[in-house]
Each structure stands twice: as structure tokens, then as C-alpha cells.
Symmetry: C2
Subunit: 103 residues, 2 copies
């Protein structure tokens, strides 16, 4: 059953085009992570935060990714990471058009 | 430009079928909120949390919803609500198949 991974952390920038250039290779590599179905890249220029919301195919893959990604962020000097894995109430999500079905 | 709303809070249950029954009318009403494009209903039986990840059409609608929803949760006795609105890096999200385009 698919699960959501929710990650956010303090991030001073860059945002927009320079962020895209710096992170494009990382984004491509995320497509190769086991069970990764999609990621939305989240940013908040005002609160200076960034992160992502991901759909993974199951909890084991989600937790493995979250552990690896959190360690990678800490190695880049990022502190204050919030990372959560959630199950999905699929019946309620279906009422609200939530995109949780693998294509 | 579409934005993500991320909400989570302590939630003791019920989960699964009874949750679905209790919340179906609320879910249907969420479809009528201005600018709401989709919601994934998130639950964690172990950490006793629940919440949602939403896509809204713009920041003003997202912030209005978050303010209304947080007040509604507090009125239901929920405390410790984390609610965040994020912009989206659309170029990176496109690399990772993020479902952020209105149908």
C-alpha cells in the first residue's frame, strides 16, 4: 500500500532558477530510488524552508529513503529536519481526488 | 500558481473504516472549498497522528483554508496542529512526476 513521506527543513536558498540548476541531478537520481512514485518539491521563501512530499509504493521503501535522505541532508549541514511517513486513508483520499494510485 | 498545504496533528483514532465513516461528509465538503484541487488523507497509527496534504490553486485560497481548518480542529479539541503552506518548484517537481497540474 502506498505511503506519503513528508520532509521539511530550514533552507536559506537559492530558490527558483538557481535551485533548479543545483538540484536537477539530485531530482533525476530520486527517480531511481526504490519505490519512489512521485515527489513535489516544496519551498517557502518567507519562512526559509524547503522539503518535499513523496509517494512511495510501501512503508519499507519510504523509511529507507527517509533515513538515507535525512543523513544526506545532515551531511550537507542541514539541521532541524522534520521527516514523517504516513499511511493513507484511501477511501477518503478517493473522495478528494488524491493522486495516490501508481500510474 | 498551485501551492501545497501540509497539515498534521495528534490523533488517537479511529483509523480505517470507522474513520472513513465519520469523515466522509467532511471529505465531500472539502471538494467545495475554493481552489481545493486534491487532498491525500494521512494517518499514522503508531505515532497517533493524522492530517492531510493538499494542492490548492493559489496561496490566498490555501491560507484561507488552513486558517478555517485549524480553527475547526481546535474547536474539536485538537491541539498541536502543524500547518504549512509551500510554494512548489515546478521544474524539479516535473522531473519527479509530481501531480501538481490541475486536470
Amino acid at each position: 500500500m502506498a505511503v506519503i513521506v513528508q520532509v521539511d527543513f530550514p533552507y536559506a536558498g537559492p530558490f527558483d532558477q538557481r535551485m533548479t540548476e543545483q538540484m536537477s541531478d539530485l531530482a533525476a537520481s530520486i527517480n531511481d530510488e526504490p519505490g519512489m512514485l512521485w515527489k513535489v518539491w516544496t519551498i517557502n521563501e518567507q519562512t526559509k524552508e524547503a522539503g518535499g512530499v513523496y509517494l512511495f509504493d510501501n512503508q519499507a521503501n519510504a523509511e529507507a529513503y527517509l533515513a538515507m535522505h535525512s543523513a544526506r541532508l545532515r551531511q550537507m549541514g542541514v539541521e532541524g529536519i522534520t521527516g514523517k511517513v504516513f499511511h493513507i486513508n484511501e477511501a477518503l483520499t478517493a473522495i478528494n481526488q488524491g493522486p495516490v494510485n501508481p500510474a
